[in-house]
């Protein structure tokens, strides 16, 4: 039981103190049993305050520390580390969330927010009294890293890990490496072709003997957690009668680089599937890349006028893809310029929703304008229409750039500038329990500062499975993910949280209910003093607590969430 607690209440600049009366909170809790002092601070997370905390711990001989500030998702680790620097066990630290769950949630009710904050801090103090020092379980980690997906992101992640002398297994479901990138023709900035780029990287990759490349193989099951993942891999049968081959891999960390699907327009969307002169951006890129004649031909007909309809499948006001696909403006302008340079008589007409050639890509847009490409702009409420008149394709659009004038033009080809959508096959995400965002791409832990890590320890996300990206952005993301995965396990030993189930073996009389409830097979039957009782394997236990409510004699508690702790918190909140 703790008896020397220090409490810090954060203003968060004003994010908290604009709505919660932090002085009132301080006054309300400073005389709680065991509280040695309570103070308010402008930014609890600031270096100055952290230094003060370390000093306070020593000076006041504290045995527990509580900070009431933002969500523990942001700063639990920060303050646990501070506690450690004050020579206290970091698990004696308790956090109260009075920003996301008080000041911000109840910014419409300052008194209510303040009352709530008081109760939340009291509950944290109650919990703190039981927060005993805990020590992590150490174990050996597998030093091999699996990269799932053999597109540009997966290949680069694997290559960068190989360069760091890590063992890598690159798993690709399809029969070749290179992903979508290998299918693109000429690429923006360097004019290197997609397959040239992917071949170059593949050749580099194959030089390393610490890389295992599996193509035509699919992950069908995953088990375990950071340091010790077990992947079940199925070899796609090459012929119908081939037997199914299944193998197991043991890895310490996983880089997920499963990529994206091209948006496939619906039947009839801008004439797709009904008018044969309507094709998608990937089809157009292939057409431009593969054609060797002097003029561009499609289905035996010479192409002069091309209309590009932007944002197909992206930025939908009605529909689930509300996001911008990011790469398509640049990709289509680059290809349109290439077509004009390569073939005679091409006139490009771009029907856009505002050009997004961000950064240096702007130079490409400028070049396109200089070459005489025509740009029209429509808004989301008046989409262009495509119809057939006398076997000719006619496009009509209300052009914002000429004060909403209705334009009509006859074209030989319509290119639907299709965006990126999340993979239809979400099996990897489901197996690894990766959370998805509103856009249905995999979600990172923090959008700004931790863009490749996920809530699942040991699993990082690289490339477009996290959201639309162009090639160099995917590569940056892949190398970042590889570095994080590498640093997780490069030391060879890992520590797991000591928050695991604990069995009161005196009360236990083995009924197997708990072991049945455990999803990880962490509970074993052991003999103790002539009795059969349950015992928890501390490395396998993940601390979910599923075993705790099923015990008929209430002999199991989850460390950190014991009945005593929870009930004392309820008392404080009531």
């Amino acid at each position: 039981m703790k008896e020397r607690l220090g409490v810090y209440i954060c203003h968060c600049g004003g994010n908290i103190s604009d709505y919660v009366d932090v002085e009132k909170v301080r006054a309300a809790i400073e005389h709680e049993e065991g509280v040695v002092f309570a103070k308010t601070t402008m930014f609890a997370c600031s270096d100055t305050n952290q230094t003060d905390m370390v000093q306070d711990i020593h000076e006041h001989n504290l045995d527990g520390v509580i900070v009431a500030s933002c969500s523990p998702k942001l700063h639990l680790t920060t303050f646990r580390n501070v506690t450690e620097r004050g020579d206290l066990n970091k698990y004696t630290y308790v956090h109260a969330n009075i920003r996301e769950q008080a000041s911000w949630a109840h910014s419409d009710d300052k008194l209510g927010a303040t009352e709530k904050a008081i109760h939340l801090v009291k509950a944290a103090i109650a919990k703190s009294r039981y927060a005993d020092p805990l020590f992590p379980n150490q174990f050996e980690a597998e030093k091999t890293i699996a990269v799932i997906g053999g597109g540009i992101a997966g290949m680069k992640a694997a290559l960068s890990l190989a360069e760091k002398k890590s063992n890598v297994i690159l798993i690709e479901k399809g029969n070749r490496l290179g992903g979508h990138t290998a299918e693109w023709g000429s690429l923006f900035m360097t004019d290197e072709k997609g397959f040239e780029l992917t071949t170059r990287i593949e050749n580099d990759l194959r030089k390393y003997n610490n890389v295992t490349i599996l193509t035509g193989e699919e992950v069908i099951d995953t088990k375990g957690s950071i340091g010790n993942f077990e992947l079940k891999i199925r070899r796609q049968p090459q012929k119908e009668d081939d037997p199914m081959e299944i193998m197991e891999l043991h890895v310490g960390s996983i880089v997920v680089a499963t990529g994206y699907d091209h948006y496939l327009p619906k039947q009839g969307e801008y004439g797709f599937g009904t008018n044969e002169t309507v094709i998608t951006l990937p089809e157009f890129k292939q057409l431009v890349d593969k054609s060797t004649s002097k003029s561009l031909e499609f289905k035996g007909k010479k192409i002069n006028n091309i209309a590009y309809v932007y944002c197909v499948g992206s930025r939908q006001s009605e529909g689930e893809n509300t996001y911008c696909s990011r790469f398509c403006c640049t990709s289509v302008i680059h290809t349109a310029i290439e077509a004009k340079k390569k073939f005679k008589g091409i006139q490009n007409i771009h029907l856009t929703r505002g050009i997004r050639t961000y950064g240096k890509q702007e130079l490409l847009y400028a070049e396109s304008l200089q070459m005489g490409d025509v740009y029209l702009e429509f808004d989301e409420h008046t989409l262009p229409e495509i119809h057939t008149e006398d076997k000719k394709t006619v496009v009509t659009v209300k052009d914002i750039l000429s004060a909403g004038k209705e334009m009509e033009m006859e074209v030989d080809l319509v290119v639907l500038v299709t965006g990126m959508v999340p993979r239809a096959d979400q099996s990897i995400g489901s197996m690894l329990k990766l959370p998805k965002g509103r856009d249905r791409f995999f979600n990172e832990i923090h959008m700004k500062l931790r863009p490749v890590e996920t809530v699942i320890d040991g699993v990082t996300i690289a490339g477009t499975c996290q959201g639309p990206k162009n090639i160099s952005e995917s590569v940056n993301s892949a190398l970042s993910a590889a570095t994080k995965s590498f640093s997780y396990i490069s030391k060879g030993t890992l520590e797991t949280e000591p928050i695991i189930a604990k069995i009161d073996q005196d009360a236990c009389s083995w009924c197997d209910k708990c072991s049945n409830a455990c999803p990880f097979d962490a509970i074993e039957q052991i003999e103790m003093g002539g009795r059969t009782v349950a015992s928890v394997n501390p490395i396998v236990c993940k601390g979910c607590g599923m075993c705790t409510p099923v015990c008929p004699v209430d002999a199991i508690n989850l460390i950190g969430y014991t009945s005593e702790e929870i009930m004392s918190m309820i008392d404080a909140l009531a």
Partner: protein, 434 residues
């Protein structure tokens, strides 16, 4: 020649903004010793001075300060502030020699308690660069409230050597005898994270910046709405009035050949919409108009943020600003071409925010032997293998992180830093004895 102290690290990271910091942490977490050199008085670069970040509206200070603390405290990272790398020579693979000049702070950081008594005692007032000139500061000052290291600095350029601060200092940490220190660093790899410069709107006289007091830059507005803001509310500098018709002029200094910057700055659309949303929260009655050419909300959650801004009532006008003039009452008349209607119009606002863009910081180009570090035509660090290895520069073993290679937002800077540190670790591994 000055005496040089010889020091040795695995990696030199130049620039302690968010990109340099992330790169340093990645290297340090993998076990390498890093020297992080920053010319300014604090870690955290431009991000630490922001209000909130788009599209999450997380408070920038709240997410930057822990990162900055982690950097400052890391056992494998040594930070030099007030320092400049003046020259780097590559002697061979894994062998760089850098000359570093560490300027005196005139305050012993380890003894300073940031009590601010020196600030109170100092009689000299000058423009506060960390508040972008909105208010003044003293010549003895703490750079800003969440600066790291949080310690006083003596601005020797403006100091009158009156000695008042020395007398006021309770810990006697002010020391005018401090001198510039010179170091010769031996490092195996170099990461350039020298960041960007903000466009200076004085280059566009027709917008009246510097002449009309109620025309401010977006960075000044960023400070006005930050939690550590200079005033307690949002007001226009001309007369202290709370503004209620605010205009944003996008692409100030971007996509503009007349001032020599043809490219898009990538961040201005988003930060302007963020500021607009924050302003609507702070000043519910205010009208906010964003004048734009194209809205570029291309990143994760950005388009949704744009739609949210529209939904909140931010007024978006597609039009390029021709000229800004000032009325007697300090209000401003914006002359612009309304593209939706195809006519030239005028609109009155009581405050104008210029959404200034990203310019290159070409300083890195000068420090390498014989121009061996290539820059692109806009003076950003050139990327040798843009598609395959975006962090590689023209020198093997020297990598670029963040906006030193072009405009980027925060997540892209972090990814770019991750990429640069990955390349640096691979480079270090390549020459490690087995």
């Amino acid at each position: 020649m000055e005496e040089r102290q010889i020091i040795e690290y695995d990696a030199l990271v130049i620039g302690a903004g968010i990109a340099g910091g992330e790169a340093a942490i990645n290297l340090a977490n993998t076990g390498y010793k890093v020297l992080l050199v920053e010319k300014d008085h604090s870690l955290g670069g431009k991000m630490i001075l922001l209000s909130k970040v788009f599209p999450t509206l997380d408070c920038a200070a709240c997410i930057t300060t822990p990162k900055v603390s982690e950097i400052a405290r890391h056992n494998n990272i040594t930070v030099f502030t007030e320092s400049e790398v003046t020259h780097i020579a590559k002697k061979g693979d894994n062998d760089f020699v850098a000359q570093i000049m560490k300027k005196p702070r005139y305050v012993r950081v380890e003894d300073c308690t940031a009590c601010q008594l020196c600030e109170k005692a100092c009689p000299v007032s000058v423009r506060d660069e960390y508040q972008f000139g909105l208010i003044g500061r003293k010549a003895a000052f703490i750079p800003f409230s969440i600066a790291n290291p949080k310690a006083a600095v003596i601005d020797i350029e403006n100091c009158t050597l009156c000695g008042a601060c020395e007398k006021a200092c309770p810990t006697h940490c002010i020391d005018f005898t401090m001198e510039t220190e010179y170091y010769e660093l031996h490092a195996k790899t170099v990461i350039l994270a020298t960041g960007f410069n903000l466009f200076d709107p004085l280059e566009i006289p027709r917008f009246g910046y510097g002449q009309y007091k109620n025309v401010i830059t977006s960075m000044q507005m960023e400070r006005e709405i930050a939690p550590t803001r200079p005033y307690n509310t949002i007001l226009r500098p001309g007369d202290g009035k709370v503004p209620d018709r605010i205009a944003y002029v996008l692409c100030t200094g971007s996509r503009d050949n007349t001032i020599g910057n043809p490219i898009c700055s990538q961040i201005c659309c988003m930060y302007s919409m963020k500021q607009a949303q924050l302003l609507m929260g702070a000043l519910p009655m205010a009208d906010i108009t964003i004048y734009y050419i194209n809205i570029r909300s291309f990143g994760k959650g950005f388009e949704e943020f744009y739609q949210q801004a529209k939904g909140m009532g931010v007024n978006f006008v597609k039009g390029k600003i021709g000229k800004i003039t000032e009325k007697e009452n300090g209000n401003l008349i914006l002359r612009y071409e309304d593209i939706a209607e195809g006519v030239v119009k005028e609109a009155e606002h009581d405050m104008v925010v210029l959404s200034v863009g990203v310019k290159s910081n070409p300083s890195a180009g000068k420090i390498f032997d014989g121009n061996s570090l290539k820059l692109d035509p806009l003076q950003f660090v050139a990327q040798q293998d843009f598609l395959g290895s975006p962090a590689k520069t023209s020198i093997d073993g020297v990598f670029v992180a963040g906006t030193a290679s072009g405009p980027m937002d925060i997540p892209d800077s972090i990814l770019s830093a991750g990429s640069a540190s990955s390349e640096a670790i691979s480079y270090l591994t390549r020459y490690q004895s087995l």
